[in-house]
């Protein structure tokens, strides 16, 4: 099993690289959003492939909640070596996945320091969730929020068709 830090270092470099080429020193909303959507797009493609590869031996998913449980358990364990700490839903297409010690935020701080920088490190993972959901047949919008590092919440909204 590969060392978990390998992915963490790679991810950190990805974020750093995208921000290093930001020509506008004043972090205007335009430039930031481009980089965030690039990261999200990367995560999306990776999520698509993982969504195909990981559930290979499992039985067919019967309903939406099964897919979300798969994300919280199997996907999270495969990528971050731990399960999601809590999954809540309003049973109307909105799910909140909470991770109390998100591995990508863990080495940064524990508390409110670096709170403004946190979204950059969550964009890839949001895309990852959205990509995996997409492969499994669910179109969704995934956003993340941080109240205090390293606790973060991923909100998955599945529009009713």
């Amino acid at each position: 099993m590969a060392d978990t830090v390998l992915f963490e270092f790679l991810h950190t470099e990805m974020v750093a690289e995208l921000w290093a080429h930001d020509p506008d020193p004043d972090p205007g909303p335009g430039g930031q959003k481009m980089s965030l959507s690039v990261l999200e797009g990367m995560g999306f493609r990776v999520g698509q492939a993982l969504g195909e590869r990981l559930p290979r031996e499992t039985l067919a998913f019967r309903e939406e909640l099964d897919v979300l449980k798969f994300l919280c358990k199997d996907l999270w364990v495969a990528v971050f070596q731990k399960q999601m700490d809590s999954l809540r839903t309003n049973h109307q297409g909105t799910y909140v996945l909470q991770d109390n010690s998100f591995p990508l935020l863990l080495p940064m701080a524990s508390g409110l320091q670096y709170l403004e920088e946190a979204p950059k490190f969550l964009a890839f993972t949001c895309g990852l969730l959205r990509g995996a959901l997409y492969t499994l047949g669910i179109e969704s919008v995934v956003t993340a929020s941080v109240a205090a590092l390293p606790v973060c919440k991923f909100q998955v909204v599945i529009p009713k068709s």
Partner: protein, 164 residues
Amino acid sequence: MGRGLGGRVTSGGSRDAVPGAGPPKMAVCIAVIAKENYPLYIRSTPTENELKFHYMVHTSLDVVDEKISAMGKALVDQRELYLGLLYPTEDYKVYGYVTNSKVKFVMVVDSSNTALRDNEIRSMFRKLHNSYTDVMCNPFYNPGDRIQSRAFDNMVTSMMIQVC
């Protein structure tokens, strides 16, 4: 072995029909259908009957959809990916398999090939699934495009020869 252009319909041609011997005995067709029900990959042998196999695969999609929706309503733990025999015709038997990502694999086997057992068909589907997963993980593959990977082609060829 002939190859179509850009991964369009190709035919295996792994065995030449004996002249004057009637219809070839071990014809096989393998198709990969996307979740939106368009073909990602379809290959059949021999050449002459391509359209017939396309039509067969197309009609089998209805049966696949039936089985999938039956699976959803069944309370029994009937959530297997392998769908089994979809429908038999007088010359051919059609088998199906659906992945968790709703990608369907359809395999047409010659009816006279009675030596082919259920677990052999299952293992062929598993190989197809594994190869498809590899295609998905290929960075040069854009999900939703036709499958043009040579490795996938070779795997399908080996299965068609095996059945033949």
